[in-house]
């Protein structure tokens, strides 16, 4: 029983660690911001750390808008293609 609890706590801790530094863009930015805040509070932050966080935020916004645009274009392309599926025959010379 003790072993089971140990294993489950390790798994949970591992998953939580992943959430912080994992593939999610927002997660990475939040974690960096938190760490920077801490360093800043202690008065030891380095010269470019703050601007790096700002850059990351800006890029994330861009990333999301690019992703949205790509999704929109793919949707539009599919919708138009379905439309043209119905109309192309009208163009065949008779």
């Amino acid at each position: 029983m003790k072993k089971l609890i140990l294993i489950s706590t390790i798994t949970v801790a591992f998953l939580a660690g992943c959430a912080g530094t994992g593939p999610s863009v927002n997660g990475a930015i939040q974690s960096a911001q938190k760490k920077y805040n801490q360093a800043h509070k202690e008065g030891v932050a380095w010269q470019h750390t703050k601007s790096l966080v700002t850059k990351a935020k800006k890029a994330a916004k861009e990333a999301i808008s690019y992703a949205n645009k790509a999704a929109y274009e793919a949707d539009t392309a599919m919708a138009q293609s379905a439309e043209y599926d119905k109309t192309w025959r009208a163009q065949v010379p008779r």
Binding site: K69, Y72, E73, T76, Q80, T87, A90, Q91
Partner: protein
């Protein structure tokens, strides 16, 4: 009395100023529209259309009709024609550049301004 005179003067001056800036912004819009019209990566309209009163456009194509007297059409009509010509003519060769977001709403507005300013009936 003096006060009202002053107010009127200020109002007139500010109106003049506004109209000047309006004319200027309109001119800028027309200029931008021409750029969209002739640039290959933007509208590339010249590939198919020639424009009345603008003979300086080099190598304009002749697939689409010559654009003339467009000031006699309502703005909305021209905007919609550029935005999605498939709506009025299904299977048309003219690309729906607004609808497929190749050019923005503002750029289509600029095109409309350019076309209406340039193709005035004489």
């Amino acid at each position: 009395m003096i006060n009202t005179k002053k107010i009127v003067a200020v109002a007139i001056i500010s109106m003049l100023g506004a109209s000047v800036t309006y004319a200027q912004s309109q001119q800028d819009l027309v200029k931008e529209g021409r750029k969209v019209f002739v640039t290959k990566k933007l509208g590339n309209c010249l590939a198919c259309h020639t424009v009345q009163n603008d003979p300086n456009i080099p190598q304009a194509g002749n697939i689409g009709p010559k654009l003339s007297n467009l000031d006699t059409y309502p703005k909305d009509y021209i905007f919609n024609k550029i935005w999605d010509p498939n709506k009025t003519v299904p299977n048309t060769i003219m690309p729906p550049q607004g609808r497929s977001h190749k050019i923005s709403k503002h750029q289509v507005d600029a095109l409309v301004a350019y076309l209406q300013a340039t193709t005035k009936a004489k």
